[in-house]
């Protein structure tokens, strides 16, 4: 499994096939209490009748495992976040539904978008995205080279909502006594995330050091955990398909647990450096009641990096070609 996931993450061909399957498969956005399974979470996970939402002793929704039981969140692999954009009603926007319907009717949906993005349609196939000219061009470029430069393929951490779209298990640990919530991500390069629940303000000026995961401040609004995030660096993409973002990005996440088996995730992205208006993405994450966090080390034996060359034929990692030496591509590295 480790190998297969790694291949999906770093191998353009395998990921392309997987991406295509994600593209054409319609996905409900919001899980309803009582439904079996979780709409956005793929594969194994929630099965059987929905169980009540677990709660902590003080009545707060428990976003983690129940004491004495096992369980982790099985984060789905969402390769194209633009196909998860929702409207004010919380449902996929009509444009995406049309694309999905067209795809089901014979693959016409992908072709209908046209665009200069090679085999994936590029920015023109996602007209609902509030592109700036440069972000559209970057996305077309990433489509054309099949995400060769995906930082997650380099085992760099995902940033923003991509944390919740990178496969493998995730666990949420609430520590009300410390006024914080920890999230542990196995698949996202073995990272953790701390959400401050102590009412603090965001650091200002140089005190806000841009990071991959940003600075997270949370609060409860009824049964919804609302997390505001700022302070992202520019070292990550939104998704495998290569939607870019800038360090001006802020993200507001909303988490609900409509039943024990389902975590519903929404993220509103505001990035005036790359997109002309905010947009919201959403999906469900299924709970696997029999799982515990495994160990997965992305960096281990990542041979993809060793054979990766840039547009000029130079190795992306390692020493550059010296004068008189043939470029790596010509040396037959693979």
């Amino acid at each position: 499994m480790r190998q297969s996931i790694r291949t999906a993450l770093v191998g353009a061909a395998a990921a392309g096939v997987f991406a295509a399957s994600m593209w054409v498969t319609p996905e409900p956005v919001r899980a309803q209490a009582g439904e079996q399974g979780a709409g956005g979470g793929r594969g194994r996970g929630a099965r059987g009748p929905a169980e009540p939402t677990p709660r902590l002793a003080d009545g707060t929704v428990n976003l983690g495992r129940v004491p004495g039981e096992k369980g982790t969140w099985r984060v789905p692999y969402i390769t194209n976040m633009a196909m998860r954009v929702i409207g004010p009603d919380g449902q996929l926007i009509p444009d995406i539904v049309k694309v999905q319907q067209a795809a089901r009717a014979g693959g016409a949906g992908r072709a209908a978008g046209g665009g200069g993005g090679g085999g994936r349609g590029g920015s023109k196939s996602e007209p609902w995205m509030p592109w700036m000219p440069w972000s559209a061009a970057v996305y077309d470029y990433n489509s054309l080279n099949e995400s060769k430069y995906d930082p997650e393929g380099y085992c760099l951490p995902p940033g923003g909502p991509r944390m919740m779209a990178t496969p493998y298990q995730m666990e949420i640990i609430q520590q009300p006594e410390h006024k914080r919530i920890m999230m542990i991500f196995e698949g996202a390069t073995h990272i953790w995330r701390e959400i401050y629940m102590d009412g603090r303000k965001f650091p200002e000026g140089d005190a806000m050091n841009p990071t991959y995961l940003g600075y997270s401040i949370g609060r409860w609004e009824g049964d919804t955990l609302v997390v505001e995030n700022k302070g992202f660096n520019e070292n990550s993409w939104f998704d495998y398909f290569g939607h870019p973002h800038t360090d001006r990005m802020s993200v507001v996440e909303r988490w609900t647990r409509p039943n024990k088996q389902t975590l519903h995730y929404e993220a509103t992205v505001t990035d005036p450096g790359a997109y002309t208006r905010p947009f919201t993405v959403a999906w469900d994450i299924p709970f696997d009641g029999s799982a515990e966090l495994p160990e997965y080390i992305c960096q281990e034996n990542n041979q993809y990096l060793n054979r990766l060359v840039d547009d000029l034929g130079q190795p992306i990692f390692g020493p550059r070609t010296q004068p008189g030496q043939k470029p790596a591509a010509a040396r037959g590295t693979k």
Binding site: P133, Y154, S236, H245, A274, D310, L312, P319
Partner: protein, 135 residues
């Protein structure tokens, strides 16, 4: 012997690590660029410090006492793998005379850490070539 091996390893790490640690995927023209321009067979060091605020590219050419301020930047995205970039800048030389700069270049290797920006560089009416890579 051991010391030599350590030095070699350290140098190898210096060559390799910046590419891993320094990935930056915001606006492709943003960042520090260094290289040189050549006019009539004479070359001169070139440093560009460019930023993107969501509306326009701003920055300076050769930061220092004789820096030129970027006045305008326009893009041609018709080739998504090699963007056309036109840049103008204005500064003053040591005598206080205005120096006008006009750049017509290509931005390539856009997704890689080591991006390439090259083309023609016209400064005070003298035309030459330039090549800079992102630091």
């Amino acid at each position: 012997m051991v010391r030599s091996a350590r030095i070699i390893l350290a140098l190898a790490a210096l060559v390799t690590l910046p590419a891993i640690a320094g990935a930056q995927f915001g606006h492709p023209l943003k960042g520090q660029w260094s290289g040189e321009r050549t006019t009539k067979g004479e070359s001169a060091r070139l440093l560009l410090n460019l930023d993107w605020d969501g509306k326009e590219i701003s920055g300076v050419v050769n930061p220092g006492p004789n820096a030129a301020t970027v006045k305008s930047v326009t893009f041609d995205y018709s080739n998504v793998s090699a963007w056309g970039v036109k840049l103008t800048a204005e500064g003053k030389d040591a005598a206080g005379k205005t120096v006008a700069i006009s750049v017509d270049g290509k931005l390539e290797n856009i997704g890689a850490y080591r991006r390439l920006f090259h083309g023609t560089w016209v400064q005070d009416g003298q035309k030459g070539e330039f090549t800079v890579t992102r630091n």
